[in-house]
Each structure stands twice: as C-alpha cells, then as structure tokens.
C-alpha cells in the first residue's frame, strides 16, 4: 500500500510518513499541491491523505487532479478548521464524496482506518 501524505505543515506530513512507514507501508510526503501532483506521477499512490486548506492549490484541487489520473486511488481529507466546509461541499457537488477527518487524527485511528479500506485501494 502506497500512501501519499500532503500537508503544508511539514512536521505533520513528515511525522505521518514516519508513522506509516513504521507500520510497514510505503509512504511519501508532499508540502504543496503542484509538488503533490508531480510526486503522485512517479509514486502512484493507492491512498492520498491530504490537508484541505493550503496556500496556492488547495487540497481539494490537488486531490481532484490526482483522482483524475488515478481513479482508483482512495482519498482521505483531514482538516483543523471550519472554512473547510464549503470546499468539501463544492467537491461533493462535483461528485467527489471524500471522507473528511478532523485534526488531530489519532495515529491508531488512522492506521485502523487504512486497514479497513477495501482491498482494491
């Protein structure tokens, strides 16, 4: 399972990558939208965990980009603020019914969630 973690907060992305790698998964970090899209090309993730509010290209746009290239990739959003709502609603209207997790996400919960994902992801 290859997991791409996207967060403009470098520490969050990096620690999460470490947790994922420790749990035996392949993981990579990207700190902004365009870098994430480029990284996805080579990394070909099964799962993307992305922050929503980011400067420049936001998480929703980034994931839409990645989803277009990897339709089977599972997207998980996580966010710590209210402004997320509208962005997520917009995405939903465009047919992207992604799950949104609230920060801080307990690592155990996250790992459990990943374990529970359908096999194809």
């Amino acid at each position: 399972l290859r997991v791409l973690v996207i967060d403009d907060e470098k520490f969050i992305a990096d620690t999460l990558v470490m947790i994922l790698q420790q749990s035996g998964r392949e993981a990579a970090a990207a700190y902004d939208g365009p870098a994430a899209v480029r990284r996805a090309e080579s990394f070909q993730p099964n799962v993307v965990i992305s922050d929503v509010i980011m400067p420049g290209m936001n998480g929703i746009e980034t994931c839409m980009n990645i989803q277009a290239k990897f339709p089977k990739c599972h997207i998980l959003l996580f966010s710590g603020q209210a402004a997320t709502n509208e962005l997520v609603r917009d995405a939903r209207e465009k047919g992207f019914a992604w799950e949104l997790l609230a920060k801080p996400v307990e690592p155990e919960e996250l790992l459990a969630k990943l374990a529970g994902l359908p096999k194809g992801a």
Binding site: F11, T15, L16, S79, Q81, K103, P104, P107
Partner: protein
C-alpha cells in the same frame, strides 16, 4: 390815451389797433415779438427789454427782451434808487452824459447803446418794472418819440400782465384739473382695493389704473417670506411690460440690495429721483445685461414709496416716468404716498383675513386632531370637573365621554393618589405646566394602569387660566417597546459576540489543531521507539494522555466549527441512556439520585457526535451544579416545538443544584462565560447552543436560586429532521424559550 391817438398818424393808429387785437390773444411770446416790430417801426429803436423787480426786492432782472446780447440780458442790477420807481419815464438821450447811469456806462458801451427810454410798469404780482427801448445812435427825445414810447410801454405792460394772469390761471386750472383727476383716481383706487380681499387681483387692477394717468410705469412689490416679490406691474405697451417682467425674473430684488425697492422697504422711507441720469444707472447697476435691459426700459424719473400699515413695511409702490418725459416731483410723492397707504391697508387687511380664516380652520383641525389623537386628551376646569374627553380617553379609561364629562377628575384617580390632583391643580393655577408626570390611574374596570401625564393650563381669550388640559399616555406599551428594543440590542450584541467568538474559535482551531497533530504524531513515534527505557516510556504515556485531554477540550469547545459530514439517524433516547451509563460512577460519587424516564421514540436526523456532546455537557453541568448531591431528573420523550409545532424529541435535564443567579442568567449562553471559575472552559453552554441551533432545535433554561427550591431545568428539542443547508442559519433559528 385815445386823446393822444388822434394826433398820431392814421397809419400808426391802425397799427395800434392791430396791436390791441393781437395783445388780446394773450400769447405772451407772440405779443412781445410784435411789440419789438412796432418799436422798430415807430421809434426806430434797436432793442427793448422788460425789466422786473419783485415786491420788497432791489434786484432787477430782464424778464423779456429782444435785440440784446445774452451778457446784457443776464445781468442783474441792484438798485433802490427812486429814479427808477417814481413812476416817471427815465430818459437818456446820451448815456455818457447821464449821471443816473454813470456806473453802467461801460455796459452800455459794450452793448453799443447810446440812448434809451425806460417807462415804468407794474407787474401783476405787485412788483415794479420798466419797459425800456434802446437806441444805438444818439436819439433826440422829442415829445412824439416819448408819447409813442409810452403807448408801446402801456401795451407791453398790459400784454405782460394779462398774459401772466392767463398763465397763472392756466396753470391753476391745470393744477385743479390734475388734482381733480388725482382725487378721482384715488377714490377709484380705494374702491378697487376695497372690492376684494384678494390683493393679488386688486393690486393688478390698481397698477393698471395708475398707468398712464399717474405714471408711465406702476409696480407693487411685497415682502413675502423674507423675499421681495413683485405682485403687479403695468405699462401701456405689453412688449415693454414683458421686458420688465423678464428683468424682474432675471434680477429679482434682494432685501439686502443697497438701493431701490430694497432700500425703501428696509428703511421705510420714500425715494424720489426726479431725473435718472445714465451715470446714476451705471453706478447703481454694475451688471452689463441688467443695465442694458434697464436702459431699454427708458426710465428717467423714479419714485418709490414704502407700503406701510400698522407700522410695518409690507412692500413698495414704484412709479416710473419714461416715454412721457414728465419729471416726478413732490406733488407726485404726495399722491404716491396716498396710494401706497391704501394699497398697504388692502394688503394688511387681506393678510389679517387670511390669518383669521386659517386660525378658524386651525380650530376645526385642532378639534379633529384632539379627537383622533392616540393619546388620551382630557380637559377640566380649575375645580377638577371634566369638560372634554376624547376617543382615546374613552379607550384608555373605559368611560365614555357622556359618562365622564361633568364628573370630577377623581373618577379615574386611585384613592391613594388623590393628593396628586391638588398638587397638579395648584401648579396649573400658577400657570405652570406639568411635564411627563408618571403615575397610575384607575380605569372603569378597576385595574391600575401606568400613565405618563402632561398637563398644561388652559387660558381664555383674556389669558386667564380657566382649566387644564391633560394628555395621558399609557406607558405600559412604551415600556414594552423599550424592553423589546433593549432585547433586540442585546440579541444583536450577543450575535456579534458570537460571530467574533466564532472567528476566534475558527482561527484557534486551526492554530491549535495543527501543532496538536504534529505533537500527537511525534509522541506516537516516540512511544513506539524500542530503545527507550521504562521511565521514559511512562513519561511519554503521561504526555500522550494529557495531549489527548487537550484534544478533547479543543474538540469539545470548538468542534461544531469542524467540518460536518452528512447527518445520520440518531436515537437520542439511546444516546442519553448511554451517556448516563458513562456518568453513573460520577452520579454515585456525588450522591446524586437519578430519576429517568426515557420513552422509546423515533430517531432524528442529526450529527451523533455533536448531540452526544450536548448530552454530556448538560449532564456534566448538572453534576457540577450539585456539589452536595440531590435528585436529578432526566426525561426523553416525543414532543413538539412550542412555537412552530414541529415534531421532535424533547430532552429535559432537571437538577436540584445551586441554580443560576438572576444577574448572570442572561449570559449563560455567551462564549467564555463560566460559573465554575478555573474548572470550566466557559464554552460548554455556548457550544451546546451552537449545536442545538445547527440542528434547528430549540433550548430552554429555567433556573431558581430560592432556598429549598433551587435548581436548573434545561430542555432541548431536537427536531425530527432539519435542512442543515447553512451554518449561517444558526443564530436566526436559535430560540430562547
């Protein structure tokens, strides 16, 4: 004279007869010209002059002359010598040898006069004079010459006298005629002005009447609302009138103008300018266009008189001479003043009448206003007997006008407030007004109403105080309105506070949740590091526990700003049961006796986590409100929203704790409000309110701090289904039951 005529040449006598008939024509200039011709013919005189001296005067002047230079004619001679006044002719055959005229020799030489004869005459005014014949050559004064000269002098004297009398009579006749015309005009004008009280109309006719008899132009201006307004103007030529109207429209007079109508109105004194010169116009009117139009009007004589009535200047009457070339004088001033008087009285009367009519209308209007006023208006005499009672008084006090009028005002004054009436009446007697006096009155139904009274003295036409009028306003409604306004403002403040707090919460959430994520991850990684000893691992465990607690607080307080997922079916009853199970240990420890009644009910559509948070927060509040324990009731059942009737699940938690003091009660839903000092976040009920609002529910809190009955009851209605379309609806849907 006829005797002497017989000795004269028959040709001369014929001429003399012709002269007589000529003299009877009474046209002085004609006569004098003929006399000179005769003098030339009969006396061979070169010039002649009529000298005159007024009675009691010594200055002689030339009145009529022919054949003399201007310098000679213009000279004045001072003399009181009896030689000139002794009724004998003065004969000078040679002026150089005549002692009487020694001092005038130079004059005669200059004029080329060598000889003269002067015959004395009397003017019609009783003055003295001479008819003098002058000769350039030395003339021998034969008796013939002297007689002929006397004859001519007599004719001249007669002609002059009769012509003068004729002139006087003519001018007297003319003056009399003018006076008659003017008095006729004045009478006409007076009748006209008195014919109607509409002075706009009468003055228009009035100025037309004045033209051209009195002047070429006539205009009337009045002061209205501090502006000078020309209300009537007349001129015989409509084209010129239009030009004048155009002029006054373009250059309306200003009360502050230094000259003309404005000055007359301001000073209340007439202004007569007999001759208006071009220079005067140019100086008075610096504006080129204004000057151009004005000179086109061709005014050359102007008279402006103020319209004064009862000591007040109401306007001005302007008379202008133009085409007729007549010069306005003091005589015109008199008639203008007479006219102005009449016009002023007409304007004043008309205005008085207008004011009277208005005040009469006012009385009617006033009665209607009083009758239809929303305030109760009652009048009474100084003995307190009610004399009027309007519709609102009937409504407010319950007595009809028939019932109230004639009764004493104590009809509506409660027993314990009767003394107020004495105070009020004594103030009214002193002419004082009682303003906004708040008191109670007793309507017919026996209840008490709170009213604000304004009582003013009523005076008769002589100014004597004869009673009082009382305006009563039911202030219960006003008090309600004030309360509503206060509440509205408070609500607005609360909303603003909430919005500010919401922003703060949102940014706090962002700022706290991100570092929390990092630290959570880092501690997790550290915890799984196998190289750590047990002591370090314990410390990390502690840190992780505390961190989890921190996360919980943040979630608890700021969570409803969290991105929501889709609402799901929630069984509120089951959720309450579950929470009570979780808190059962706390209940036991706190000696809290739980009474629960959970009726099975349908699920609602909502957010389970958030509803659980509300349940938990409310239960925790209840537990904390009962430090000494006591009964706690929890009830969940199907119900309806009190106001809208929407079906839903009602959840009621009633503690028997300390209660919420009245002074802080209205703040309980404010963010950061807490009664628990350091223990609470101050965000619990604020979050509860937010979550309830998000679910379009309603919350009701009742509390008492009375000993033995203290406690708080919180009741939340969760609607069966909600729209969840916008977070913005939160505030508007929040209901304080």
């Amino acid at each position: 004279m006829s005797l002497r005529l017989e000795t004269v040449d028959p040709a001369i006598s014929n001429l003399l007869e012709a002269t007589s008939s000529l003299v009877s024509s009474l046209e002085l200039s004609d006569v004098l010209g003929k006399i000179l011709k005769l003098a030339e013919l009969l006396l061979e005189a070169d010039a002649y002059a009529v000298w005159g001296c007024k009675p009691q005067d010594t200055t002689w002047r030339v009145i009529y002359s022919a054949g003399l230079s201007a310098a000679y004619v213009n000279q004045k001679i001072e003399t009181s010598s009896s030689e000139w006044t002794n009724l004998q002719p003065v004969i000078a055959e040679d002026v150089d040898w005549m002692p009487l005229v020694r001092d005038r020799r130079e004059m005669y030489r200059n004029e080329g006069v060598k000889s003269f004869i002067a015959y004395p005459i009397w003017t019609s005014e009783g003055g003295m004079g001479t008819v003098t014949f002058y000769f350039h050559q030395r003339r021998e004064m034969t008796p013939d010459v002297l007689q002929t000269g006397q004859l001519l002098a007599n004719i001249a004297n007669a002609a002059i006298n009769s012509a003068e009398i004729h002139e006087t009579q003519k001018s007297l006749r003319q003056a009399a005629q003018r006076a008659a015309e003017r008095s006729e005009f004045l009478a006409h004008a007076s009748n006209l002005l008195a014919s109607s009280l509409d002075y706009n109309t009468t003055l228009t006719q009035f100025v037309q009447l004045a033209v051209p008899k009195i002047a070429d132009w006539c205009a009337v201006s009045v002061v209205q609302a501090n502006r000078i307004q020309r209300i009537a103007a007349a001129h015989s030529d409509p084209a010129k009138l239009q030009l004048a109207n155009e002029y006054s429209k373009k250059f309306p007079p200003n009360l502050n103008d230094r000259t003309g109508t404005s000055q007359v109105i301001r000073e209340g004194k007439p202004q007569l300018v007999p001759i208006v010169t071009d220079e005067m116009l140019k100086q008075a009117i610096p504006n080129d266009e204004q000057y151009r139009i004005l000179s086109q009007l061709g005014m050359h004589s102007v008279l402006i008189v103020p319209l004064i009535s009862r000591g007040t200047t109401l306007g001005a009457l302007t008379l202008v001479m133009a085409e007729s070339a007549r010069v306005l004088g003091t005589e015109d001033l008199e008639i203008a003043e007479a006219l102005a008087n009449r016009a002023a009285v007409a304007i004043d009367n008309s205005r008085l009448y207008e004011a009277m009519r208005e005040s009469r209308n006012d009385e009617g209007r006033l009665a209607a206003i009083v009758e239809s006023s929303d305030d109760a208006i009652v009048s009474k005499n100084l003995d307190g007997i009610i004399s009027s009672w309007n519709k609102s008084a009937e409504r407010l006090f319950g007595y009809s006008a028939e019932e109230a009028i004639g009764k004493h005002i104590t009809l509506i004054i409660p027993q314990e407030r009767r003394s107020e009436e004495d105070t009020i009446i004594s103030r009214i007697r002193n002419g004082e007004r009682v303003d906004h006096f708040e008191t109670f009155r007793r309507p017919k139904d026996g209840t008490l109403i709170e009213v604000a009274l304004t009582i003013s003295p009523v005076r008769d036409s002589d100014g004597r105080i004869v009673g009082a009028s009382k305006i009563a306003r039911d202030i219960t409604e006003r008090r309600n309105a004030e309360r509503a306004l206060r509440e509205g403002e408070e609500r607005l403040r609360k909303t603003e506070k909430l919005a500010a707090a919401g922003q703060l919460a949102a940014s706090l959430a962002h700022e706290i949740n991100n570092p929390l994520s990092t630290v959570t991850n880092a501690l997790y990684l550290l915890d799984s590091n196998s190289t750590l000893d047990n002591g370090a691992r314990d410390l990390i465990g502690m840190a992780r526990t505390e961190l989890a607690r921190m996360s919980r607080i943040v979630k608890q307080s700021l969570s409803y700003y969290r991105a929501g997922s889709t609402p799901k079916e929630v069984d509120v009853a089951a959720m309450v049961e579950e929470s009570m199970q979780v808190f059962s240990a706390k209940f036991d420890r706190g000696a809290i006796h739980l009474t629960k009644r959970i009726d099975s009910a349908y699920p609602i559509l909502g957010f389970a986590d958030e509803i659980r948070q509300v349940v938990d927060n409310l239960l925790l509040n209840a537990i904390e409100a009962m430090p000494k324990g006591g009964p706690l009731s929890v009830w969940v059942h199907q119900s309806r929203e009190w106001r809208s009737g929407r079906p839903g699940i009602r959840m009621t938690i009633a503690d028997s704790g300390l209660g919420i003091p009245k002074e802080v009660f209205k703040s309980i839903f404010d963010p950061f409000f807490t009664t628990k000092e350091q223990k609470g976040t101050g965000l619990g009920l604020w979050v509860v309110r937010g979550i309830v609002a998000k679910h379009e529910g309603s919350i009701r809190v009742r509390s008492s701090v009375k000993k033995g009955k203290s406690g708080t009851v919180v009741s939340v209605l969760w609607p069966r289904s909600s729209q969840y379309d916008s977070e913005d609806r939160m505030e508007s849907l929040l209901s304080f039951e």
